[in-house]
Symmetry: C2
Subunit: 345 residues, 2 copies
Amino acid sequence: MRATYMYGPGDVRVIDVADPVIVDQTDAVVRIVRSCICGSDLHPYHSMSPSSQGSPMGHECVGVVEEVGREVRTVEKGDLVITPFAWSDGTCEFCREGLQTSCRHGGFWGGGDVGGLQAEAVRVPLADGTLVAVPVEETSPLIPSLLTLSDVYGTGHHAAVKARVTAGTTVTVIGDGAVGLMAVLSARRLGAERIVLMGRHKQRTDLGREFGATDIVAERGAEGIAAVRELTGGDGSHVVIEAVGHMPAYEQAVGVVRPGGVISRVGVPQYSKAPVGFGTLFGPNITLTGGPAPARAYIDTLLPGVLDGSVDPGKVFDREIGLDEVPEGYRAMDDREALKVLVRP
Amino acid sequence: MRATYMYGPGDVRVIDVADPVIVDQTDAVVRIVRSCICGSDLHPYHSMSPSSQGSPMGHECVGVVEEVGREVRTVEKGDLVITPFAWSDGTCEFCREGLQTSCRHGGFWGGGDVGGLQAEAVRVPLADGTLVAVPVEETSPLIPSLLTLSDVYGTGHHAAVKARVTAGTTVTVIGDGAVGLMAVLSARRLGAERIVLMGRHKQRTDLGREFGATDIVAERGAEGIAAVRELTGGDGSHVVIEAVGHMPAYEQAVGVVRPGGVISRVGVPQYSKAPVGFGTLFGPNITLTGGPAPARAYIDTLLPGVLDGSVDPGKVFDREIGLDEVPEGYRAMDDREALKVLVRP
């Protein structure tokens, strides 16, 4: 089959690899119906250490179960399934607490002997804990929205949940990528009335307005901070969702958060240390939270709204390509020509 | 009157200064009955930039109102009062939300033209918002416990509240100073059953046991982390309260916190940057919280237990000195001869 590998900065290739097969009796093999490219894939696209082996890419998909191991109980051949961006056993304490990204026996796509999802098919370990079957045909127009439950919608929701957004919370979202836009949608869904979106790509911020943003701030740095502070009566935002991962976005978050407020990070941090001292987080009692979303945990909560059409998170996809065009898809996302690229194997 | 000033590392002097007087009609003048030395006073004692003017010291006291401005309504001459370690108007949004340390018009003792509390008396700005009158005589044996409501008990409580400690939470407290011990007491009060205290001064950890610690870990660094992990089934502690403020304590906190857990800092950080990246906070979804405690906010909650004797936080005081002995009190606390020093002006 064909699968996507990255070999170094800017070097993405679609190559032939062996077809996936059942290895453990808790596995399933899933044929991928739609995958996509994630903003977080652009981090290694910029900074990956060159590797002759390459790394399998892709961690979001909707697919159809082709085969299951003898011990698999909750899905069967022919089921349409959502695969969250981490696989997990569903039974350990962390899974039961809803933190599947820390599952005792789980892992991430493309790690060890598990493939990536920008591919034609994949072996899914711990299929019972990982996969969620949905009563939808693979030709359904709901597929793009279901695919967002694999990562970006769950990630936006995680940001808002970790920050304890409720009615009355003023939320600022830093970043107008797909995760930032999903954070807007999620904050709105949890009742936030004032949602400031910091971003400067009009097409994206327009979609942000559609998802619930009440104010757009295109400026960055000191100007952007001043603009958000002015919008929030001088004090800043109760909650700031940082959906980028670079240090200037962190600094922006510190600049616009209100004393006693929360910075919730879902952009994968591209730094190891950050300011947390008296003058930044400690003095004004700022809480720093967030991390990789346990997307699996949120599917039960978020799926009904997708199925009944009350939300349409699939609107973040603005381009669809075939699997062999994935390298071009990375380029288009990196150049901000495309917001989020759907991949049809 | 006599008052304490610090001029540089190790250089504490008790000097003659002008008696405080009413400046604004919202002021009170308070004669200090008992003050004390705080672990956080030892930070400048180590690292203050030398100054010929000096800094007024002390931010905790119980006193008696001597005089009030015309606009003061809630306290009157002769009242015994607790002064929280920040003064605040009690009316701004931050005060109404219980974040008096971020009061729009408030400040900290020893800043601007407001004196420190290791002194004979002090001018209290915004007396209505700041002072809490308690129906106790100044000769009462409850005075030391009431004095802890000025800072350390409120600070320990803040650490536990910000970390949302409830029954069933496993809590590790890093630091066996007065704030660490108050965090133990507070975690116990909020229902925590398993409380690991990391500290190596037996007299202090014995008091920690009395306040509710179930386990003591004397080791530090990798050994200390391994010991806490062993005590917590390998996964670490839901909540870690960092009551020191130095980087090794932060690193210890990161080492012992459970995935999905909370690090709550109440030791004033002596660093500006810290590890917060994928490998420390982000990957395991750790929340970092804490800051200066709004001690004023917690007095209503904590006072009844002090008055009825169900808690005895005043046990953290193990030495009492006169005001002129304050320099010796700093030395004794810095040398770990004394846990917390009560000052009798």
